[in-house]
Symmetry: C2
Subunit: 294 residues, 2 copies
C-alpha cells in the first residue's frame, strides 16, 4: 500500500541472501531485532507475507522470491553509483569489467596487466559471466562481448572480427584422426552447448547448431574450452585463441562462424576519465590480439 522506504528493500535482499535475520544483521552491521522489524514493516507496506518464520531461519515465500531480482537490480545500481562517485582524477578509482569466462580468463589478463603497470592506482574488478545484460543491469561498467550492442543507451566500439572454427587437441587428433566429413561424426566426440544461446543459433555450413548435435554439453564456454584442451572432443573456438593455445584445426574450411568483437560501455560513463582509460586500453589490446590471427 504505502511505498516502502528503500532501506527496507536492502533489508529484504540481505535476508534473502543470508537466509536469516541474524545473518542479514551481521552483513549489514545492524542488529537482529532491527532487521526483524524492517522485514515486518515491508510486509505490512506491501501487504504480502514475505517469509515464514522458522527456528532455523526465515523461509522466503514465493512472493519474496519474485521480488528478489528487483532488489538485486537496486543493489547493482547502488554499487554502480558508489563507483561513479569516486573522484575522477587521472588513473585512479574502480572500474568493473565484464567478459565471458574464456575471454576474461585468457585474453584480458595480459591487457589488464599492462594497464595496471601504467596506472598502479587504478583498481579493476573483473566479472566473468556469460550473460550479455550485465551492463544494463549495471553489474559492470564496461563489457567485452562478441555481439554488436543493440541497446540505445550503450556506447560501443567494434574492435575486430573473430572467426569461430572447429578445433581439437593434438592428443585427440592423434588418437581419433581428423574427421572426414562434418555431418558424419561416428567415432568422434563433439563438445558444445547445453542451451544454445541466441547468437550461436542457426545453420552454419549446412550444420544446424542445436543441442542434439553435441555429445558433451556445457553452457560454460570455459568448460567447453577446457574439455577441448583435455582431448575430450572437437569443439568451436575462436581462431586467435586456438592458435595461442596450440589447438589443431579440424575440417579447416568446412565450418566457420564469424563473430564481431565489441567493447561496450554506458553512454553515461563516456565522460569519465578512468572509464575512457580502461575502455581505450581494452580496445587497443583486443585489436592487437585479434590481428595476431592474420
Amino acid at each position: 500500500m504505502a511505498d516502502p522506504d528503500w532501506t527496507l528493500y536492502r533489508a529484504l535482499l540481505a535476508v534473502l541472501t543470508e537466509g536469516s535475520l541474524s545473518g542479514a544483521a551481521r552483513a549489514l552491521g545492524q542488529s537482529q531485532p532491527t532487521l526483524g522489524r524492517q522485514i515486518a514493516a515491508l510486509e505490512a507496506d506491501l501487504g504480502v507475507a514475505l517469509f515464514t518464520r522458522s527456528p532455523a531461519g526465515l523461509i522466503p515465500t514465493e512472493a519474496a522470491l519474485e521480488l528478489r531480482p528487483h532488489a538485486q537490480a537496486m543493489a547493482a545500481a547502488a554499487a554502480a553509483l558508489v563507483r561513479a562517485a569516486i573522484p575522477d582524477v587521472d588513473g585512479q578509482g574502480v572500474v568493473r569489467i565484464t567478459a565471458s569466462e574464456v575471454v576474461g580468463g585468457t585474453v584480458l589478463p595480459p591487457i589488464l596487466a599492462e594497464l595496471r603497470e601504467a596506472n598502479p592506482r587504478l583498481q579493476i574488478e573483473l566479472v566473468l559471466s556469460n550473460r550479455n545484460d550485465d551492463l544494463l543491469r549495471r553489474e559492470a561498467d564496461i563489457a567485452v562481448r562478441m555481439a554488436r550492442p543493440t541497446q540505445g543507451a550503450l556506447y560501443g566500439r567494434k574492435v575486430g572480427e573473430s572467426e569461430v572454427r572447429l578445433f581439437a587437441s593434438a592428443g585427440y587428433i592423434q588418437k581419433h584422426g581428423q574427421p572426414t566429413d562434418l555431418m558424419d561424426r561416428t567415432g568422434h566426440t563433439v563438445v558444445g552447448f547445453d542451451h544454445v544461446p541466441a547468437y550461436a543459433g542457426g545453420v552454419v555450413a549446412n550444420f544446424p547448431i542445436m543441442r542434439e548435435i553435441f555429445d558433451v554439453r556445457s553452457d560454460s564456454d570455459l568448460a567447453q574450452l577446457a574439455m577441448i584442451q583435455a582431448g575430450v572432443g572437437i569443439g568451436g573456438c575462436q581462431v586467435p585463441l586456438a592458435r595461442r593455445l596450440g589447438l589443431v584445426p579440424v575440417l579447416a574450411d568446412a565450418f566457420s562462424f564469424p563473430m564481431e568483437a565489441w567493447v561496450v560501455m554506458h553512454e553515461d560513463l563516456k565522460t569519465s576519465r578512468r572509464m575512457r582509460l580502461v575502455f581505450d586500453a581494452l580496445v587497443e589490446g583486443l585489436r592487437v590480439f585479434l590481428s595476431e590471427a592474420d
Copy 2:
C-alpha cells in the same frame, strides 16, 4: 567511504528531480530539514560535494549529475518491485507496457481496450518511448518492439513481420506527384531521422540510410508520422499502419525494409498470471494487426 543507506539515494534523486530540498521534501512526504540532513550525510559518506546551496534551490554539481542515472535505475527497480508485489490473482494488478510512440499511439489502444473490457480490474500503464532498453532498466514489464531481443534474461515472442516502405499523404502526392527515382529527390521532401538508430542503419536498395539524405529530421517516430500525414514529405512507415491511415505508397517496390515485431518480457515475470494475460493479449492483438496487411 562508508556505503550510504539506500534512503539517501532516494533523497538524492528527489532533490535532483525537484530542484530543491523543500520540493523534494514535499514529494517524499518529509520535511525540508530532513532532506537537507540526508543530502549532507550522503555527501559525507561519498566524500563528494553534490550540490551548491543557493537561495533559489540546490544546484547539482557535475558529480551529482553523474550519479543521477544510477539513482534512477534504483527507482525504476523499486517501482518494478512494488508492482511485482501485488498479489497475482486473476486479471488484477498493474502491468506496465512500453512501446514506441507510434505503435503505442495507434496500434495498442484498441488491443488494450479489449483487454480492459475483459478484465476491468486490470490496470495498465503505457510508457511511450523509443528507447529499447526499458525492460532491462525495469521501467516496464512488457515491451513491444521491432527487433529481436538479444539479451539472455528476456523472453520474447515474435508476432510477425512488418515491412517499412515509403509513403506520403494523398495531398502531398497531388501537389508534387510521384517521384520517379529513389535517388533523384529534386522537388521532393524526405522525412527521416535526426540520429539514425542502429536498427535502421545500413543500405537498403542502394539507398544509404544516413542523416544527410533526409530533408526534415526528427528522432520521434510520432513526429515523423505526423509530418508525413500532414503532407510535409515522403517518409518510411510500416505497411499495415500506413494502410490503416490511408497513406499513399511511394515507389512501391523500390524500397522495402523488413522488420520483425516482438513482444518481450522479463524471464522473471513469466510465472505471473497477469503478466501472461497481458503478454498473450498483445501477441494475439499484434498478430491480427500485422496479418491485416495481407
